[in-house]
């Protein structure tokens, strides 16, 4: 008999079919008014693709959300990464910025929604800002721990060989922190993605969050689920892209088997 390990695809297909079977059974039990079955949800996704909701098709809504996420994510990378690296590397930076950072760190990004709307209005600014806060904290934190906890022996090895501080930073600390930075890039992306939905749920006439809220207002569970499925798929897609990027840029990393 073949071990299940040799059939990862088969196993995956099995688990998915069990999942969908249970879903269908559950739908039968509670009725489609409460829980639409998978086919209805897929049908709804196709319908949203063709028929505009509030003047926009699904693709346009997705692009709206994506645009917000990517702008925020880009801003978080150019600000959060250097800040984290600096805090990890220089004890002076750590002492100056550390305490402020510690105060802001535990505040969930969603808690920023009210002030963000107050300051930046309900338009793009506040939504981008909320995503930015979420991704920024994670990116800064990961690049911080990455550089802070570089194996001392690697630093010492380079120091004995005559490396100056700049060389130690660029040649040892940053590459040593790369795996941790990549973890930050991945988690920061999913955080930004979560935040854009939260922001869109609160206000806005476009985006995937808006589709979900519309579904609720119109009492259309299939529309809500369609929005959720699209979120899941897009999130997974972005995670895969980042993982491929990591494999290319950090080929030395030990794979967890």
């Amino acid at each position: 008999m073949n071990s299940p390990k040799s059939h990862p695809l088969l196993l995956g297909a099995l688990s998915l079919s069990v999942f969908f079977m249970s879903w269908i059974i559950l739908t039968k039990a509670v009725g489609t008014k409460i829980l639409p079955d998978p086919f209805q949800v897929i049908g709804e996704i196709i319908r949203l693709f063709k028929t505009p909701l509030s003047g926009r098709t699904l693709l346009e809504h997705v692009l709206f959300s994506l645009r917000r996420v990517l702008i925020a994510y880009g801003l978080a990378i150019v600000s959060g990464l250097p800040l984290g690296l600096m805090m990890g590397w220089s004890s002076l930076c750590r002492k100056i910025i550390g305490p402020i950072f510690e105060i802001f760190r535990p505040i969930p990004p969603i808690a920023w929604i009210p002030v963000a709307i107050l300051w930046l209005g309900v338009a793009e600014g506040s939504k981008i800002y909320i995503c930015y806060v979420g991704a920024f904290i994670i990116l800064a934190l990961n690049s911080f721990t990455g550089t802070r906890y570089v194996e001392p022996i690697l630093i010492n090895c380079a120091r004995v060989l005559g490396a100056n501080r700049k060389r130690l930073f660029l040649g040892v600390a940053v590459p040593a922190a790369l795996p941790s930075i990549f973890a930050g890039l991945q988690n920061g992306m999913s955080m930004a993605w979560m935040c854009v939905l939260a922001a869109e749920l609160v206000g806005g006439r476009e985006g995937i969050g808006f589709i979900i809220i519309q579904g609720m207002n119109l009492d259309r569970p299939d529309m809500i689920l369609a929005g959720m499925v699209v979120i899941g798929l897009l999130g997974a897609l972005m995670a895969i892209v980042l993982r491929i990027l990591e494999k290319v840029l950090c080929p030395w990393r030990r794979e967890l088997v």
Binding site: I153, N156, V160, L161, N164, R167, V172, A176, W252
Partner: protein, 261 residues
């Protein structure tokens, strides 16, 4: 059985060789824990000095003081008559633990120090190639360190440190991970490179046989807080034979000198 009457070196000024490293009243304490207690000795230019002593006696601490990784509590260490400076002095350090650079392939690991020292690329290439042959890593140039065994990894670190042709080479139990055949081979290689380049070597080991085989002089440290129990000059002809009566006599003598029980 041959007995050995050591020429115990007590007066450092009695030597005429130029001094590479001068250690004076070196004391190192970690908080309340006194590790090195008022140690003074010299390492002469071109000498291979082995430092032996019981586990935890501060052998590694001494090397860390020498490189400046650990600040001295009191006393001083001079390299070429000035305080050690990692930018000016060409020092190599082979660590006990794996110290290969995980994100560099073997070739680039060996080139690591040469690039820090900004050697011209053709020189980098020729030295790396030569070192790869010396330590037998030719087949592994395109591997990452994690793909190698512990012994191969240590050879990468050795090649990296040898490649910079240090004039002071510090080795902290470098061969602990290796099987006996490789160990013998690399002991001879260290000696050969040392003779060719005139390198001064401080070699920390707990393997007394290894110390007697390699050393021009052995420094025997006592248990913590460490002082120098004895300095043993070894003038056996080379290549040395492990089973020669004189060799065995010195080995037994050093073993006795180390004993604290």
């Amino acid at each position: 059985m041959t007995t050995y009457n050591p020429k115990t070196v007590t007066d450092q000024s009695g030597s005429h060789d130029p001094v590479k490293v001068k250690v004076r009243h070196l004391t190192k304490a970690y908080d309340e824990l006194l590790v090195l207690n008022d140690i003074s000795f010299d390492i002469r230019k071109g000498e291979l000095l082995c430092i032996v002593g019981p586990t935890g006696c501060g052998k590694t601490t001494f090397l860390n003081c020498l490189t400046g990784f650990a600040p001295l509590t009191s006393g001083e260490i001079l390299i070429d008559n000035e305080p050690g400076n990692l930018f000016r002095h060409n020092i190599g350090f082979v660590f006990q633990e794996p110290s290969t650079i995980p994100w560099l392939k073997v070739w680039d690991n060996v080139a690591f120090g040469l690039k820090i020292k900004k050697l011209p690329p053709p020189e980098v290439i020729s030295r790396v190639e030569k070192m790869l042959d010396t330590v037998g890593l030719r087949r592994f140039v395109d591997y990452y360190p994690r793909e190698l065994s512990a012994s191969l990894e240590q050879r990468v670190a050795l090649a990296r440190e040898f490649a910079v042709k240090p004039d002071l080479l510090l080795m902290d139990e470098p061969y602990g991970q290796m099987d006996i055949k490789l160990r013998y081979y690399l002991e001879d290689e260290v000696r050969r490179i040392q003779m060719e380049e005139g390198t001064t070597v401080a070699f920390v080991t707990h393997n007394i046989e290894e110390a007697v085989y390699l050393a021009d002089r052995i420094l025997v440290l006592s248990q913590k807080p460490s002082t120098i129990n004895e300095e043993v000059a070894i003038d056996l002809p080379r290549p040395r034979r492990f089973d020669a009566p004189e060799f065995v006599a010195i080995r037994n003598h050093v073993t006795e000198a180390i004993k604290w029980w």
